[in-house]
Symmetry: D3
Subunit: 235 residues, 6 copies
Amino acid sequence: MRPSGRTPDALRPISIETGVNRHAEGSCLIRMGDTHVICTATVEERVPPFKRNSGQGWVTAEYGMLPRATNSRMRREAKSAQSGRTQEIQRLIGRSLRAGVDFVALGERQITIDCDVIQADGGTRCAAITGGWVAMKLAVQKLMSAGLVLSDPLGEPVSALSCGLYAGQPVADLDYAEDSEAGVDGNFVMMGAKLIEVQMSAEGSTFTREQMGQLMDLAEAGAAELARAQLQAVA
Amino acid sequence: MRPSGRTPDALRPISIETGVNRHAEGSCLIRMGDTHVICTATVEERVPPFKRNSGQGWVTAEYGMLPRATNSRMRREAKSAQSGRTQEIQRLIGRSLRAGVDFVALGERQITIDCDVIQADGGTRCAAITGGWVAMKLAVQKLMSAGLVLSDPLGEPVSALSCGLYAGQPVADLDYAEDSEAGVDGNFVMMGAKLIEVQMSAEGSTFTREQMGQLMDLAEAGAAELARAQLQAVA
Amino acid sequence: MRPSGRTPDALRPISIETGVNRHAEGSCLIRMGDTHVICTATVEERVPPFKRNSGQGWVTAEYGMLPRATNSRMRREAKSAQSGRTQEIQRLIGRSLRAGVDFVALGERQITIDCDVIQADGGTRCAAITGGWVAMKLAVQKLMSAGLVLSDPLGEPVSALSCGLYAGQPVADLDYAEDSEAGVDGNFVMMGAKLIEVQMSAEGSTFTREQMGQLMDLAEAGAAELARAQLQAVA
Amino acid sequence: MRPSGRTPDALRPISIETGVNRHAEGSCLIRMGDTHVICTATVEERVPPFKRNSGQGWVTAEYGMLPRATNSRMRREAKSAQSGRTQEIQRLIGRSLRAGVDFVALGERQITIDCDVIQADGGTRCAAITGGWVAMKLAVQKLMSAGLVLSDPLGEPVSALSCGLYAGQPVADLDYAEDSEAGVDGNFVMMGAKLIEVQMSAEGSTFTREQMGQLMDLAEAGAAELARAQLQAVA
Amino acid sequence: MRPSGRTPDALRPISIETGVNRHAEGSCLIRMGDTHVICTATVEERVPPFKRNSGQGWVTAEYGMLPRATNSRMRREAKSAQSGRTQEIQRLIGRSLRAGVDFVALGERQITIDCDVIQADGGTRCAAITGGWVAMKLAVQKLMSAGLVLSDPLGEPVSALSCGLYAGQPVADLDYAEDSEAGVDGNFVMMGAKLIEVQMSAEGSTFTREQMGQLMDLAEAGAAELARAQLQAVA
Amino acid sequence: MRPSGRTPDALRPISIETGVNRHAEGSCLIRMGDTHVICTATVEERVPPFKRNSGQGWVTAEYGMLPRATNSRMRREAKSAQSGRTQEIQRLIGRSLRAGVDFVALGERQITIDCDVIQADGGTRCAAITGGWVAMKLAVQKLMSAGLVLSDPLGEPVSALSCGLYAGQPVADLDYAEDSEAGVDGNFVMMGAKLIEVQMSAEGSTFTREQMGQLMDLAEAGAAELARAQLQAVA
């Protein structure tokens, strides 16, 4: 039995509210249950050094969490420095959102996706990827409306979900109560039926290939549901 | 004529939405026009070293801004370090919110007010003070309901407003368009008819005592309006 | 009764010794009683990026304190990093000294004012502004003697004074003994009869507009006395 | 055809030389072809705060690379700070080596595994895990010989291997030439037939579940070969 | 011929003004020609961890330079971090001043010597050692007058001098003009006829044992002259 | 009697193994008894700003130590920052290796010598200099073979040795057991019969000119022996 009473394959309620920031070229507030993330996309007409004069664009991401997004207040990262964990998360988000982007079609410009968690209840990096794609898509639509980009550089939605073994049972979309108990869990980033990233980890434990297959089944079904919400948000 | 069409003494629309964070002991989202700040109050049963074993509490504040809160994306502070400007702002917020707090009544515990700007259009530090007081008051109410604090350590609302000379004319509650033009402007923190902090500054310019008096008149009237909205939010 | 026996409006003895550094384009050692600050002005034929190719100059300031300038030894800032308080002070000094400077007349060059407190007894930022103006003026005189600047870019002296409520009474030029007791105090930066900056602050307290007026009266009289000493030093 | 001429499932020559450091409680130099990593295990009779007075031990890892371990010299990390990538790698090593450790049997002491790459040719984090387990095992043997640990807290060897799609074909134990071309690759950490960690990533690409299965087949076979070399080294 | 016209063995005019800081337990302003260093000694009734409960004291030193102490303004160290060169200098000063101190006689307390260069013309680290000893001696005298230290923990003065080959000729007490030309130079720290530290260095050059002997002859004579000035200052 | 049983003038066994790194232009592993240092030379076709367009080259060095090179594990420098001691050592290595280099013959390119201590038993900086010269020489030979450098920019080997007073007796090539006891010790860097650097230091002690002469006699003899090993390694 899951703490929330959800069935093993049930995601939390998904809500994606777009246009939440008047300055950003694309933005949304994604809510996966009590996990809330503000995602903004910033378009800049410059690219990092390794892309200069290539005619190609770039997508990068940054991630943060407000100090009281969590149950106990965390130290503000600006007061120390970005932790390695934060950097690992934002590299994952960036890699995931770059998958399937046609950088030639985008043109020599950079889109920066900022994902800031204002309330956390597990699965923040996955919500950031799912919402980040929506913000990016909205920014691309704006570029296309302005005639700056002619063919859509984005493909199917990029969606991410955490799944894991809770009380020995495979469950989808772990919330914090489950995540802090699960010895085995993973993040699955998908684009339609294809995989972009799989990160399975067992802290102080191990898992079998069969269990991994069960989690991937859950991830596939959940990602399809997320993709529908994403497409609806940008329609 | 103000860019927004407001009369010289007109504040922007004020909205204070409470209970926006399920973890924090007190929270609100304050909107002064297009300036939006999330304020959370965290209660911890410990105090800084200089207050230990004093029987007295403490109030402190931190301030941050999401990278795309502004028109051009700013560098994420966690990637470098808190700027001096940020530290100056958060010291101002902390001093302002400590004014009039009865630390003996609060007891030996600390309230940390986090003010995070999610969208900026001028006057963010003032909105942070005004909203921060609301979050602090809600946290105190929770402590009192729980019987942990017996008499209310807070007094009248602490409210803050920026006023300045725009096109030579004294105006209240500067927005970004005005603030970036104003050679003379100031922040006024008030508690009822009393002053807590006055910061008048003239970049590359000067001002007279008469002009200062006019700005204080505007600040007094505006602070009273803010105090009414604060009291309504915590009622 | 003030600890020093001074009358409420009496400043401490003022001494401004010029030419204390053989390398700097302008320099002085200002003494306000036991507060001693070395001020040097450095002229460089380059400006910050935002002024490049503008034909205009710039003035900036930095502030430091020797570890044993104070009664208890402080940690050397070079061993950690400039504190937010230090940065706040040096931004105040820079803003104050820029007031009324004709940057076109100065030409595309930068003057950096370094203010280093070698002994502290309250009011160091004010002494730094008052002495910093003298160092800047001497550097400008040198530029004019060399024919590099043709018309004087500086106007009246910029003078600064701290005033506050000590034992309920408004007093001028607070020393450390008074400053550490005063719940309400402020820094007033003036240029003749005009104001450049007012920073009134009440730690754990409040003040009225009437009290503020009394402090400004003291500040006006004191600033005039400082201006006379400054003009004498650069004559 | 692989650049090295290896068959798809062929690992590079494996060499594990133990006892390379006279100070460390356990040490080895592992060579996977031209990738060479010095691994040392340090035993300290103290544990991190979250394990104090628990009666349980802890295992942690750190990772570094000499500046000229790579083809182009890299900036020395001590001159800036550990990059996020380095931190991500050392967290992976730590998690992997903790899997299956009986912390009660280890007792309240910490083993720190330092993995320093002295020459790199791809797969350094995997070599670090494989060699790190050997160093840890040797340190544990020393503790047991000294009668400080009574029953062996370690289980089967922890072995790690990178596999990926090179020119569309699944191959095992990628070297640098392959790794820099492979759009899809992953790290597999195993303990016998069980999985500890799977990190599959597609930079600018995607992969199918079928491809993932093929890579896991290669990983399983390779890990078994590594485990034999590890057991031989500690025999 | 030396730029200053001095004979090879002539030191610059020495001046040691004591009691320049009202807060410090001992202080002086030492002038070696145009090199001016403020030295303060701070006594604290605590010692570093490695001396705790040993009944013994400790002496340590810190060194800094005001940004415009030099001909071109240097970056303020507090804005970046103490350079390695600064740390090397202050470790030298500390080692030198600890020589011959009887830490048992001093008792379990620490003396911190701060040496801040307010104007530089070569030889600042040597002036800091020479002046630092005076500040330390004055602080010790104060401790003895107060009955806190019963027998003098200090011996003969510690004096330091830089000597080098200028235009092929051995000269004493290099000033900046000489120092920037000298390919071979050294710092000699002496205590009476005994040596504490010798640092001879040849940038892009070499030297012979005979030349080294000549420089040591100069250093011996110069140190004796410095010691007389030090004893006179503390008399 | 020395702890190792060596005679006062006996060096530890010297071993210099070249070609230990397949990427570096020159490399060796130098062993002075139990002190082991990997030295690599990196040639880059660029020079620091102060050498640009001068037609001249540059040599610089960096130094590091693996955390468990020592008896007790040290904190990894990449986790904090390079200590002042480390910076002091690497400046010494760089100065030493630059002595006698003909930068015009080298041409406008930089050689960076990385010296990483993998096992320490005293005298690491001296071993780094001795081995660093070998790595540099090998890199220069490679440049000459390729016709990029026409006449050899290097002269005689640069060799370094620590000598000190152990139990009152002058001894050569101190190991850790001796070094931690010796109150007086020094590092001598030589090039044939010439001196490049002498650093004699007495922690809490003093020494005479006669003792210094005895140590220099030992250093001269030892350096000659090191030079023979260096020439053999690069033959």
